[in-house]
């Protein structure tokens, strides 16, 4: 799949942002006044910034409101509805903490639930697709939620929780990669089933429909980053999990915390780039690309 920057930025930032909102909603930590304002500003910047980035790849962003209508059938629509609900509920909860010094716990729990549900919906957009076997697994929402919750713990200063959750998220990541590497073969779609000609001999793509490229090849047959996969995976693991995890053992300072968060962000972004760049769409079979 073509790793569109807007979608990578969106899923990386909003995943972290909603993870942070979930922790704050559960009352970890309960902060008030300027401190609350600052922390909610960071969480909202990530979550809303991510959502805004996602509109950049739309052909008609001005019609984006229509995407709230089909929540009964579409995961993308559900994500839109739930994300707005989460942001509204958490805005009320945040207003209580920032302006009134009041901790409306129930509202926070609802907001936390909606925040995590948003991340789940985002993951399901990918995990529902039969056409991309690497994504089509319950492990995809597990991975997205693990990254979001661990990153959220890091951002909201939950040191002990982050120390436990970062290794768990790393394990989910490695498990998802290992499962994904054999997924296309196991799913069973081949040029033989794609053309229905497999029972009469070995099928080979002889001539493509045209000499140039097209939308399908640009979008679905991305193969550029494959040779750097191992290096990028190592970078994702080191930056995303090992460095922040190690920094958590040092005495707390804001500078170190910032480095830990930025490293984690870079690591997750690398992992998310691979998430798209490595994903093989079955339509590539028709072009002899698999």
């Amino acid at each position: 799949m073509h790793p569109a920057p807007s979608v990578i930025v969106f899923t990386t930032l909003s995943g972290l942002g909603f993870g942070m909102l979930a922790w704050m909603g559960l009352g970890f930590p309960v902060v008030t006044g300027w401190m609350a304002f600052f922390m909610f500003a960071v969480a909202y910047a990530l979550a809303v910034g991510g959502l805004l980035a996602s509109t950049f790849h739309l052909g008609h962003p001005e019609r984006a409101m229509k995407a709230f209508t089909q929540w009964r059938s579409s995961w993308l629509s559900r994500e839109g509805v739930v994300s707005v609900a989460a942001l509204l509920v958490m805005a009320l909860y945040a207003a209580g903490l920032v302006f009134f010094g009041a901790h409306w716990a129930l509202l926070g729990w609802i907001g936390a639930g909606l925040s995590l549900l948003t991340v789940f919906c985002t993951a399901m957009i990918y995990a529902q697709l039969d056409t991309i076997p690497r994504w089509k697994t319950p492990l995809t929402p597990v991975l997205f939620l693990a990254l979001s919750i661990a990153g959220g713990a890091l951002l909201s200063g939950q040191v002990v929780a982050a120390m436990v959750l970062l290794p768990i998220a790393a394990a989910c990541q490695v498990g998802w990669w290992l499962r994904g590497d054999g997924a296309f073969g196991l799913a069973g779609s081949t040029l033989a089933t794609a053309t229905g000609l497999g029972d009469r001999g070995a099928v080979r793509a002889f001539e493509p429909p045209h000499t140039g490229t097209n939308y399908l090849l640009r979008e679905f047959a991305f193969e550029v980053g494959r040779k750097h996969v191992d290096k990028l995976r190592l970078i994702a693991l080191i930056l995303g999990f090992l460095v922040p995890f190690s920094l958590l053992w040092l005495p707390f300072s804001h500078a170190l915390a910032l480095i830990a968060v930025l490293c984690h962000l870079a690591g997750v972004a690398a992992s998310r780039w691979l998430f798209f760049a490595q994903a093989e769409h079955v339509v590539g079979l028709y072009y002899g690309k698999r």
Binding site: M1, H57, L58, G59, H60, P61, R63, A64, K66, A67, T69, Q70, R72, S73, S74, W75, L76, S77, G80, I125, Q128, L129, D130, T131, I132, A187, G188, S189, L191, T193, A194, T195, G196, L197, R200, G201, A202, V203, R204, A205, F206, E207, P208, P209, H210, G212, T213, N214, Y215, L216, E219, F220, H281, V282, V283, Y286, Y287
Partner: protein, 258 residues
């Protein structure tokens, strides 16, 4: 709603005969022509006369080589467009309701004024039947020429999809698969019409007819008895000449003997 209808009154679709298709791409051209000039946004091209041309097409013809265990390879031309699946995964993923499957005839369409161009339906389609138009930013797909098949301003003979109307080999057939007596149902039943990627459970309406086995003619060559070699090894004068020439410097015989 972008939920799928549980059943449709008709199941309009195509039968594509892989035995007859000659790979001329006339269907590609007529499709592009009709759908650029008529319903919906035109099918745009980018850099059409430059070094890196590309464009939106609703129908493309691939060519595949099939190598059987024994015998010569066979070349099969393979037109591919929307299969108007009964369980169309492209429809249910649509967040705006722009994609829908019609209850009356089963055609899968895009309401372009509702399409936000997110591309998710193209991700969900295994067949590459949907292309996001680079100029209009909306999703384009085969409409089964919905603006021809019911169009009373056209002569009756033209009320079928442009690709079917134009095919010079008669490799494309249009009809209603819900009617067991229709031309397409009968053709598909007779010739073993097949689904593409049936393992994905999309239940395509369009069927592909597999190529028939090639005729195998017994080799009869009336000249053969007269052309068999009369002598494998040269004898007599020719034998002496062969040896003598081979023994001369530069002769191939010499190097072999040495």
């Amino acid at each position: 709603m972008t939920t799928l209808p549980s059943t449709t009154q008709k199941k309009l679709g195509l039968v594509i005969d892989l035995d007859t298709c000659v790979g001329c791409h006339a269907c590609v051209v007529s499709c592009k022509g009709w759908n650029t000039e008529n319903y919906g946004a035109p099918l745009s091209d980018q850099d059409a006369y430059g070094a890196d041309p590309s464009g939106t097409f609703l129908n493309r013809v691939h060519s595949y080589e099939v190598q059987p265990e024994a015998g010569p390879a066979q070349l099969i031309h393979f037109p591919k467009s929307c299969l108007h699946c009964e369980d169309a995964p492209c429809v249910t993923v649509c967040p705006t309701g722009a994609s829908y499957k019609r209850v009356e005839d089963g055609i899968v369409l895009v309401n372009e004024s509702d399409c936000i161009g997110c591309g998710l339906c193209a991700w969900a389609c295994p067949y590459g039947a949907r292309e996001l138009d680079a100029a209009e930013g909306v999703m384009k797909k085969c409409t089964l020429c919905v603006d021809r098949i019911y169009n009373e301003n056209l002569p009756e003979v033209d009320r079928e999809p442009a690709c079917v109307r134009t095919c010079p080999a008669g490799a494309r057939h249009f009809g209603d698969f819900a009617d067991p007596d229709s031309n397409v149902s009968k053709l598909s039943a007779e010739r073993g019409g097949m689904d593409l990627m049936p393992e994905l459970g999309t239940k395509p309406v369009n069927k592909y007819l597999p190529p028939r086995p090639k005729d195998e003619m017994e080799q009869i060559d009336v000249l053969a008895p007269y052309l068999t070699p009369v002598a494998e090894e040269p004898k007599g004068f020719m034998g002496w000449l062969d040896k003598a020439l081979g023994a001369m410097p530069g002769g191939s015989q010499k190097t072999e003997d040495a």
